[in-house]
Amino acid sequence: MEVEVSDGATVKDLLTHLEISESQGAVVIVEGRVLKADDKMRCGVPVNVLQAIGGG
C-alpha cells in the first residue's frame, strides 16, 4: 500500500501515521536495514513494517 507522510518524516512519524504504538514492537526495514525511530524516510522507497520477533 502507499502511505503519504510529510517531507523529512521519521520512522516514528510513519508508525504514528499507521496507528502502531511503541508497545506493539514494530520494526521498520528499508533496503535490508533495520531503521531506528529517528531515522528519516525517503520518498518512493519501499518500506517493510513488521513485528519484531526473537527467534523460533
Binding site: G25, I29, G32, N48, Q51, I53, G56
Partner: protein
C-alpha cells in the same frame, strides 16, 4: 525426585534418588552434567558406552505454564560433541508430575532386539519387547500406542531413520492431540536411541498431580505476574498465536539474512509465498488451525495445524526453521510441498533442518534442480525406504557433501546451520561457530536484538559479547523446561526477577540474580565445553566453513568478518 536407570545390555531397571552431585540440576543442565561425568568422551556415540538421557526441565510438571520442554542428551553421532536437543509436547510435564528427574538409558540391547520403555501412572518402569513395531513410522506407531495404552499417554519415539542409525535421525514427541509432530531433531539423537534398541519411551500422564510447590503464596503472586508479562508481550502475547515462528520469514528476508539456494543468496525469490502471513491465511481459509497449543500447559499457542486443500491434516506446527530449510535452502516457494516434507520427516523420524540443508547441498552439487518440488519429496521418501542415497541424505549435509565431493556445505561441527546467515547477521555466526552443540539456532539467537534495533546485524564489534550473554542465558533457561517463546519476554532484568521468584517459590530455593541465569548458564556451558575438549575438540573447530569468509552474500554482498581470536574469546567468563 528420582532417577530411572535402564541397562539395555541386561534389560534391567534401577530406580535411585537423585545423586548428590546432580541435585539442583534439571533439563539441559542435568543432561549435559550426566554426560560429562559418566560418558567416556571418546566413545562411539552409537556404541554401548554412550548414554541417552531424558531430563525434564526443573519446572516441568509444576503449575507454572510453558515449562514443558524436555532435554534429551547424549554424545552426538552427527557432531561427535556433547548434545542437548530439547523438545516440547506432553512428556516433560508427565515425567515431572511423576517426580522423575531423569531417565538414563545405558548399554545396548542385543542386536536385532527392540523395546518400549513404559512408565506407568505410579512411576514404575518396565521394558516391553516391541519386535512387531520394527520399522514402523511414527504416526502409525503413536496411533497404535494410544490404542493399546490409552489416550493419556505421552510418547517419545523413533522412526525408521533412528532404527537405521542415520546420524540426522530425530526423536519425535507427541503433542496434545497425540501427533508425533514435535522433534528433538538436532544432533542425530534418534540414531542413539535406535542403537540402544529403544523404539519408544511412553509415559502415563496421570501422575500424582503437579509437583509440590514449596511456597504456595509466593508462587501465586509470581505466577500472576509471570502470566501478565508473557500475555502482554507483543511476541508471545500476540505474534506467536497469530503467525507462530513462521513470522520470521518476512523480517529475515527483509534484512537480507535468509540463507537460500544453499546459502547463495540472502533474499529468496517469492518469499512472500512461504511467509507466516501467507501460511496463516491459507490455514484459515482451508479450515485448519493457525492458533494451536502443541505442548502441555501452554498459554501462548504458537503451534498450528496445517491442512491440505481438502481440509485434511498434513502436519502440525509448520515452523520457521522447517520452512527455511526445506523451502528456502531448496528454493521451493510452496507451502504445500514444505508441509508434506515436514510430515514425511516427522513420520520417518529425521531432522527437518538437517534434511533440508542436506537436500540443498545435493541440489547445489547438481544432483537435482533448486525448486524441484517432486524431487525433494522423492529424496526424503528415499530415507524412509532406506535406499543407498536415502541413507546418505539421512546422515545430514556433511555426508551428502562428501558423497558428491562437493565442498560447499553449510555446517559447523558437522551440523547444518539454521535460517540466519552469518554474513548478514554476524552475532548468529558467532553462536553457530562456538556453540558446544555445533551450528544451532536455539543456543543464543541474536535475531530478536537485531529486530529490536539493539544490535546492528552487520556490526562485528560487540557481536561476541552479545552471543556470549545469550548463550549463557539460554543454557540456564534450557535447564528449567521453559519454552523459547516465553523466554523472549523474560530477557530483561525485571521480568527475569519475576521468573526467578517463581522458580524459588516452586523449588524452595533462594536463587539470586547472580545465580540465575548467569551462574547456572556458565556451569552448563563449562561442562559441555569440558566434554568437547576431552573428546578432542579445539578452538579450530569453533569456525564457520570457508565460504562464509570468502563468498559475499547478496544483497548486502558482505562476508563474515569476525576474527578467530575474537571467536576464541566467546567463552571468556
Amino acid at each position: 525426585m528420582k532417577f530411572i536407570r535402564v541397562n539395555m545390555n541386561e534389560g534391567t531397571i534401577r530406580v535411585e534418588d537423585v545423586p548428590q552431585d546432580y541435585v539442583g540440576l534439571g533439563g539441559r543442565g542435568l543432561s549435559s552434567t550426566i554426560i560429562n561425568t559418566e560418558v567416556p568422551p571418546k566413545c562411539d556415540p552409537l556404541g554401548p558406552e554412550n548414554k541417552l538421557i531424558f531430563a525434564p526441565g526443573l519446572l516441568s510438571g509444576s503449575p507454572l505454564g510453558n515449562t514443558s520442554r524436555i532435554s534429551i542428551g547424549a554424545k552426538s553421532p552427527l557432531t561427535g560433541t556433547i548434545k542437548e536437543s530439547n523438545v516440547g509436547g506432553t512428556v516433560s510435564a508427565a515425567l515431572g508430575r511423576l517426580g522423575i528427574a531423569a531417565v538414563v538409558i545405558e548399554g545396548q540391547s542385543p542386536e536385532g532386539e527392540l523395546y518400549f520403555l513404559r512408565i506407568d501412572e505410579k512411576g514404575d518402569a518396565s521394558l516391553i519387547p516391541a519386535q512387531e513395531y520394527k520399522g514402523m513410522r511414527t504416526y502409525k506407531l503413536v496411533e497404535k500406542i494410544l490404542e493399546v495404552y490409552g489416550g493419556k499417554t505421552s510418547v517419545l519415539c523413533i522412526g525408521p531413520a533412528g532404527e537405521d542409525r542415520l546420524t540426522a535421525a530425530s526423536i519425535q514427541s507427541s503433542d496434545v492431540d497425540g501427533h508425533p509432530c514435535h522433534a528433538a531433531g538436532r544432533g542425530g539423537l534418534g540414531a542413539v536411541m535406535g542403537a540402544k534398541g529403544l523404539k519408544v519411551l511412553l509415559v502415563d500422564q496421570r501422575g500424582k498431580g503437579a509437583k509440590p510447590v514449596a511456597d504456595l503464596e509466593a508462587f501465586k503472586e509470581a505466577n500472576k505476574a509471570y502470566v501478565k508479562i508473557i500475555k502482554e508481550h507483543p511476541e508471545p502475547g500476540h505474534l506467536m498465536p497469530t503467525l507462530g515462528t513462521a513470522a520470521l520469514v518476512a523480517p529475515v528476508n527483509s534484512m537480507g539474512a535468509f540463507p537460500c539456494y544453499n546459502a547463495r543468496k540472502g533474499v529468496m525469490d517469492d518469499w512472500e509465498k512461504i511467509s507466516g502471513e501467507t501460511m496463516a491465511e491459507m490455514i484459515k481459509e482451508r479450515g485448519g488451525n493457525p492458533t494451536h497449543a502443541g505442548c502441555a500447559q501452554c498459554f501462548i499457542h504458537c503451534s498450528n495445524v496445517f491442512v491440505d486443500k481438502e481440509g485434511k491434516y498434513v502436519t502440525s506446527s509448520l515452523e520457521y526453521e522447517t520452512i527455511w530449510a526445506t523451502g528456502g535452502m531448496t528454493g521451493i516457494a510452496d507451502l504445500d510441498t514444505i508441509a508434506r516434507l515436514d510430515n514425511l520427516c516427522d513420520d520417518i523420524g529425521v531432522d527437518t533442518m538437517s534434511t533440508g540443508v542436506a537436500m540443498a547441498v545435493a541440489m547445489d552439487a547438481g544432483y537435482k534442480e533448486f525448486g524441484d518440488r517432486e524431487a525433494a519429496i522423492e529424496m526424503v521418501k528415499e530415507i524412509g525406504k532406506g535406499t543407498e542415497f536415502g541413507r546418505i541424505l539421512g546422515s545430514g549435509p556433511a555426508a551428502v557433501g562428501k558423497h558428491f565431493n562437493h565442498d560447499r556445505v553449510p555446517v559447523v561441527k558437522g551440523q547444518g546451520v539454521a535460517g540466519f546467515d552469518p554474513r548478514a547477521m554476524r552475532g548468529n555466526g558467532v553462536t553457530f561457530a562456538t556453540s558446544p552443540m555445533g551450528a544451532d539456532h536455539t543456543a543464543g539467537n541474536v535475531v530478536g536484538l537485531c529486530l529490536q534495533g539493539k544490535l546492528d546485524p552487520m556490526q562485528a564489534e560487540g557481536a561476541v559479547e552479545v552471543s556470549r550473554n545469550l548463550q549463557i542465558t539460554t543454557a540456564a533457561f534450557d535447564s528449567t523446561g521453559l519454552c523459547f517463546m516465553a523466554s523472549v519476554a523474560l530477557m530483561e532484568p525485571e521480568p527475569q526477577a519475576v521468573f526467578r521468584k517463581a522458580i524459588n517459590a516452586i523449588l524452595g530455593t533462594e536463587l539470586g540474580p547472580d545465580d540465575f541465569p548467569r551462574a547456572m548458564g556458565i556451569r552448563v556451558l563449562k561442562a559441555e565445553r569440558e566434554f568437547n575438549r576431552k573428546a578432542g575438540f579445539t578452538n579450530e573447530d569453533d569456525r564457520l566453513p570457508r565460504f562464509y569468509y570468502e563468498e559475499p552474500l547478496p544483497p548486502h554482498n558482505t562476508v563474515f568478518v569476525i576474527s578467530d581470536e575474537e571467536l576464541d574469546s566467546t567463552f571468556d567468563f
